[in-house]
């Protein structure tokens, strides 16, 4: 049953309501397709970015191997590992039975012995079957062994909601994994993020939880020539300012970065200049970048898809209050998923996850622009 559900979701990416908005992003690069080649920015989908990153890292280091359900002969449940089996063989692209606890443990054990596994969870909802191995066997080992046993493993897969997949297949695990010392948690948004961060994750000597987003797989982003180079790596623990602004800082990660950017466009028309930060890394959290930005804009809005209580936004808010309280001109605003298990019905699901208008409304509230109050900015 899962298989059918997942196939349907994979095929429906382009047609889902959340996906429609992403088409707007494509319009900008299309106009530049009429350009001459010397100033051309190549486009790449997130899926291709991940695939090329895996391919290059497997070619560079024979210790890297991929393991998970349907990664081999099926070419990947979401086609992220397409072509890797043919290129590297079944010893390095390993199809597993549906036994997350077992194969996550086997992955961690092989990392103890010096291999560099990339373990795929079909979605991170299934990682809960294996969470003991991610946390107790992988994250804590270097500490408990006082540095003897490091675990150079990557756990990757789609995280958060897709479209209409229901309560058990829609949870965001960024806050859960982000709270564990010993783990690194990365959340790419664009293709460049996906390539750079995955390569950095595979090269990293510590366990990395790599949270992708299913609805972003099919989205295309421009990639620079530098990003296409096989040695391209992004630094872990550094956020990116996607859009500069001066009135309010909006932090977001994964798909919400796209929403935040669109919200920023809308806000610009209303005279609010929003700075959008793409977190890229939940753990380590780039508190420096966030604080520098808040000290500049004096207002903060955090956006995430996960459950609101004890979420990523809560941590960012507390962090900023501790470090930059004097700079805040307004209370920190949080936009998060609704505090309910995800419903199926389309209208309810729309209410369960942040929409662009939620971000716009919260930003205006932080700028004291909501209701009948006169704008002071």
């Amino acid at each position: 049953m899962w298989g059918i559900l997942r196939q349907k979701v994979g095929g429906a990416t382009c047609l889902s309501p959340q996906g429609v908005g992403s088409h707007m992003l494509r319009l900008r690069p299309v106009t530049s397709a009429l350009r001459n080649y010397s100033s051309a920015a190549k486009e790449m989908t997130v899926r291709d970015a991940l695939n090329s990153a895996l391919d290059e890292e497997m070619a560079a280091d024979p210790n890297v191997f991929v393991m998970g359900e349907e990664v081999g002969e099926y070419q990947g449940a979401y086609k992220i590992t397409k072509g890797l089996l043919d290129k590297y063989g079944p010893e390095r692209v390993v199809d597993t039975p549906i036994t997350e606890a077992g194969f996550a443990g086997i992955g961690v054990g092989s990392a103890y012995h010096g291999l560099r596994p990339v373990i795929e969870f079909m979605t991170f909802n299934f990682s809960m079957q294996a969470i003991d191995h991610i946390i107790n066997s992988a994250a804590k080992s270097n500490y408990m062994s006082a540095g003897q046993i490091n675990v150079p493993i990557v756990f990757r897969g789609p995280n958060g909601p897709a479209a209409g997949v229901g309560a058990q297949h829609s949870q965001c695990y960024a806050a859960w994994y982000g709270s564990v010392p010993g783990l690194k948690v990365l959340v790419p948004y664009s293709s460049e993020d996906a390539r750079g961060l995955l390569k950095a994750a595979i090269r990293d000597p510590d366990p990395v939880v790599f949270l992708e987003n299913e609805l972003l797989y099919g989205e295309s982003f421009p990639v620079s020539a530098e990003a296409l180079d096989s040695s391209f790596c992004l630094p872990i623990g550094k956020a990116k300012i996607e859009r500069e602004g001066k009135d309010i800082t909006i932090t977001a990660f994964s798909k919400m970065v796209g929403y935040a950017l669109k919200a920023a466009e809308i806000l610009k028309k209303e005279g609010i200049s929003a700075e959008v930060i793409n977190l890229r890394s939940i753990r380590p959290l780039d508190r420096a970048t966030i604080n520098v930005s808040v000290r500049k804009t004096n207002r903060l809005l955090t956006v995430e898809e996960g459950f609101p209580q004890h979420g990523v936004g809560a941590e960012i808010c507390a962090s900023v209050v501790e470090d930059s309280f004097g700079y805040l001109d307004a209370p920190v605003e949080r936009i998060a998923g609704a505090d309910v298990p995800t419903p199926y019905a389309a209208n309810l699901e729309r209410m369960a996850f942040p929409q662009i208008e939620d971000i716009v409304r919260a930003a205006k509230r932080a700028c004291y622009r909501s209701g009948t109050m006169v704008a002071t900015a």
Binding site: P97, G105, H133, S145, A146, Q148, I149
Partner: protein
Amino acid sequence: MWKHLPLWKLLSTVELSTSITKSKAIFSSALNFDYSKPHYIKFFSSGLYFIILFLFLFFSDPSPNLTFQSLQQPKTTTDAMALARRSSGLLKPLSTASSSSLLQRRPFSTDDTTTITVETSVPFTGHNCDPPSRSVDTTPKELMTFFTDMAFMRRMEIAADSLYKSKLIRGFCHLYDGQEAVSIGMEAAITKKDCIITAYRDHCIFLGRGGTLLESFAELMGRQAGCSRGKGGSMHFYKKDACFFGGHGIVGAQVPLGCGLAFAQKYRKEDHVTFTMYGDGAANQGQLFEALNMAALWDLPAILVCENNHYGMGTAEWRAAKSPAYYKRGDYVPGLKVDGMDAFAVKQACKFAKEHALKNGPIILEMDTYRYHGHSMSDPGSTYRTRDEISGVRQERDPIERIRKLIFAHDLATEKELKDIEKQARKEVDEAIAQAKESPMPDESELFTNVYRKGYGVESFGTDRKELRATLP
């Protein structure tokens, strides 16, 4: 003839006769023999034996063949005499040898050329495989090493018990005394490139892999000299250079990890295997079967060793498992049931398993063993089993006593020598404890070390982040 005998040879025969006496006493009265009386009393009380032995020395013509067909306990004095007759064969060539080295009389610590064949206590039971033979080859050196190593392990665990009661060890302390034969037998069959991973009852496995007593005690007491620099504790001993991967607190988690080690060994085309140890309590874990399925599917060189001490914490095996025949639980995976209190049975089984795993993939070894202590130091161990049961096993099946009897049977050492080894063990353990006590607690900066192998200069916090922050290197 008499005047050609140097004095040392006379004395050596005296000592031999007293040892024969003692052996006889041991055989006939189990472990109740009183070792506290000094030798000279025994000498006078065994005068008759002394005289008879002298006669045998000079007039007997013993066979040089020292192999035993079975380790039957001699029940009568004639049997003891038979033993004396056979063992005096050791002396016969020596008495005519020209060498005067006293050490020749006691070659036990260096002789690994003489082969001794030992029979295991019970035959092996196989599941989907042909069990190996009961006869195990060994050498005097190996026998003595077994005794010494097990004596050290036993002493370490007993000392840990006292340290825990005096609150120098905190938290959890799971003791291995009674189960030493599993560690010892396994080490005898494998190399340090074969991996071992186990659960939390790991102190003796660590020692078997080459860990020192100091590292052990210091880690238990949370000091810098510990194998994990005091940051792991009793359940997290590691020795990566000897391929010992811990030390795991989550019951059953070590089984997929061990299959992962085997995966890596196969990936790298190494000729080594992984021994993944777990208990009867963990044998019902789902992830074990998940990992076993994959190990069998991919022919991983993984050997699953179930140390069945019959109690999962306080739950007897028959209350936890519908089928406590753990060696059969692998279904299509072959299994072997082994007497885990017999170090030679363990050695033979591990050797067999290693050969099997390198060719055919996973195999399960069920070691029938027993722990004298409770599950941990907070468990008296007597609420779910009777004291009679515990003392019965100690009398009938104790692994160290088995080796002791073997040593006497093959006349490799005297009673006194074995006692000296035990005294030496006690002494070294006490020294290690004293040294460990002097080792300081970890420096406060160690709170923040080793969180990552590569920290990128990230900030980490203490309980009060305005008070204590650190940069992870």
